[in-house]
């Protein structure tokens, strides 16, 4: 509607001088408006574009990168981070953070390995690992909400320590070898070149996608992150929503435990060290905001893949492992800067809206 008047504004400008001012200003407005819209759209799909750019660059730099074998490797190596980042995404959407997921992953793997030493049943072992994650997440959520803590940082930091300590204590500080066949095939199996773990991730990602975009619960997660006070006033059960995201994050850590344990056919108290930071980095690289309420499943997965691809690419190019940390750090800074830029563009956008009416 606005665009069609833009096309006809030329003649009318010459007919009546009175119209000249507003019409001319209007056209300048429209250009600025479109530019802002375009900028915001690019930022929204930016993580995906950057991932594609990195992948294209790597495929030129290393002939091995685009082989199915290598891609399978990347996916399998990224699976645990990806599932953790799905849980972390839900937490960050509510303005929270879950620092305990790496330790929970380790604890779940140790519990699974110990259960397997006495019960030779794949389903039981899997249930035990999931239950471990679920339990840790529930404790996080309940202590955070019911304990009226100002921020989840502290409780999940405490849980980072507690879960790792439990894992060390239960295992005697040693890896415990052996996992049921079904766990091994979840974590290490593949169909053709496509890892089973990646299929599992796609399934879970789909479920989280449905939750966040189609289900009332997911809508509430975004509402609580966007404006907790307003959420409370509109009758959304804010406390339950908050607890639920930590429960889900714990559950995802349990799944990550299954994947890691299966991939290495063991449970170990040293699994998942710094994995919490990887998952946070993945979510942030995916454009989610620490201020809550912004972020989506696809971008979180892209963020996780970005970390996986960068690591893999630098391995292929034989870049010093220490240097990988630096590169990933720089990528995180860029992602956060992109978020700042988005905030700036949105401010400009609001000004346009105010002057357009």
């Amino acid at each position: 509607m606005e665009q069609s008047t833009g096309a006809s504004s030329g003649p009318s400008m010459t007919v009546t001088p009175v119209e000249r001012g507003p019409e001319a200003a209007g056209r300048g407005h429209r250009d600025g408006y479109r530019g802002l819209r375009l900028g915001l759209t690019v930022l929204r799909i930016g993580p995906l574009l950057i991932l594609l750019a990195v992948a294209v660059a790597l495929s030129f730099l290393s002939p091995f990168f685009l082989t199915t074998r290598n891609l399978g490797n990347v996916l399998a190596a990224t699976a645990a981070i990806a599932v953790l980042s799905l849980g972390q995404l839900l937490v960050i959407l509510t303005r929270g953070i879950d620092l305990s997921v790496g330790s929970t992953l380790a604890l779940a793997s140790v519990v699974g390995a110990l259960v397997f030493t006495s019960v030779d049943s794949g389903p039981v072992v899997i249930l035990a690992m999931l239950a471990t994650g679920l339990l840790v997440g529930t404790v996080n959520g309940i202590v955070y909400v019911k304990g009226r803590l100002p921020h989840p940082f502290i409780i999940t930091l405490a849980m980072l320590s507690i879960a790792r300590g439990l894992a060390l204590w239960l295992s005697g500080g040693q890896p415990i070898r052996g996992m049921p066949a079904v766990v091994d095939s979840i974590g290490g199996g593949s169909i053709g070149w496509f890892p089973v773990s990646a299929i599992l991730i796609l399934g879970i990602a789909f479920l989280v996608f449905v939750l966040t975009t189609r289900i009332v619960w997911g809508r509430w997660i975004y509402a609580v992150g966007g404006n907790p006070e307003a959420a409370r006033r509109t009758g959304i059960p804010v406390n339950k929503v908050l607890i639920s995201v930590y429960v889900l994050s714990g559950l995802m850590a349990g799944v990550a435990g299954i994947i890691t344990a299966g991939r290495l056919d063991a449970g170990s108290p040293t699994f998942g060290e710094l994995a919490e930071l990887d998952s946070i980095a993945a979510v942030v690289i995916g454009g989610a905001s620490f201020l809550g309420g912004r972020g989506n499943v696809l971008n979180a997965l892209v963020g996780a893949l970005m970390i996986g691809v960068i690591r893999n690419g630098m391995n292929l190019l034989a870049v010093d492992a220490f240097f990988q940390l630096i590169v990933i750090g720089v990528v995180i800074v860029l992602a956060v800067e992109a978020d700042v830029l988005r905030g700036y563009l949105e401010d400009r956008f609001r000004v346009f809206e105010a002057s357009r009416s």
Binding site: R214, I215, R219, R233, T234, S357
Partner: protein, 251 residues
């Protein structure tokens, strides 16, 4: 005026410790009427609307809805009674679109046999009804899919007011709806309030902008130190008198 008021407050009294915030205040609003609530800071305007919207409870006095005495114990209960309040902070979700904002906490979803939180959102239905209502109130939004955070101050205010109007079967309460807005955007919000009146809502407006009050309000109730000190039909002619009622000088 011969009809039963949609909302009547009689002898409203509220204490906060030793402070008497409201002292026997009476207020009536009829359908199709805009009543302005005036008063200096600390006069009791906010306390009064918070009592009506269920945030506070009256220590003494009654609230009548359509002539029936009604106890309002919580904001949720006030909403169930058809009373919607737009506070100054608007309580919008900047990260969500207009439809999600409209239906926040009361999402249209199904199927009914599922617990509320597991239901599937009726996204199309909510979007359509939101667009229809915004259209009826002549709130023009450039893009219904944009997050509310990308709207201007006036558009945001309009969305918040329209949301209140959508769910208020009885009373819409607006706290300083034009305080943060420029001239043109204020005008649009005032027009919107006029449309609420045309659509037979009972409206209570708190405002410091007397010319806006004169513009839209049918009556102005003036509070000072928790008491009602006057009720006028606001016009240009008695503007001075209203000001002196507010500040407590000679009339």
């Amino acid at each position: 005026m011969t009809t039963i008021p949609a909302l009547a407050v009689r002898g409203a009294t509220k204490r906060f410790g030793a402070v008497l915030a409201l002292d026997g205040v009476d207020l009536e609003v009829h359908r199709g009427q805009v009543v302005a609530l005036l008063g200096d800071n600390g006069a009791g305007k906010s306390t009064l609307i918070k009592c009506i919207s269920g945030v506070h409870q009256l220590d003494d006095g009654v609230i009548e809805m359509d002539g029936l005495p009604t106890a309002i114990h919580s904001p949720a209960q006030a909403r169930d009674l058809g009373i919607e309040t737009v506070y100054q902070d608007l309580a919008l979700f900047d990260n969500l679109g207009p439809a999600a904002n409209f239906y926040a906490g009361r999402e249209a979803a199904g199927p009914r046999w599922l617990p509320t939180w597991l239901r599937v959102l009726d996204r199309k239905g909510m979007a359509a009804r939101t667009a229809e209502l915004l259209d009826r109130l002549q709130v023009g939004l450039p893009d219904m899919s944009n997050q509310v955070g990308l709207l201007s101050g006036g558009q945001r205010q309009a969305v918040a007011v329209a949301r209140a109007a959508a769910f208020a079967s009885n009373v819409v309460i607006l706290d300083e709806p034009t305080a943060a807005l420029g001239l043109r955007e204020s005008r649009r919000v005032l027009d919107l309030i006029n449309r609420l009146r045309e659509r037979d809502h009972a409206v209570i407006v708190i405002s410091h902008a007397l010319d806006h009050v004169i513009d839209i309000a049918d009556r102005a109730v003036v509070l000072r130190r928790g008491r009602k000190v006057g009720e006028e039909i606001p016009t240009r002619e008695n503007q001075q008198r209203i000001v002196s009622l507010i500040v407590g000088g000679e009339g």
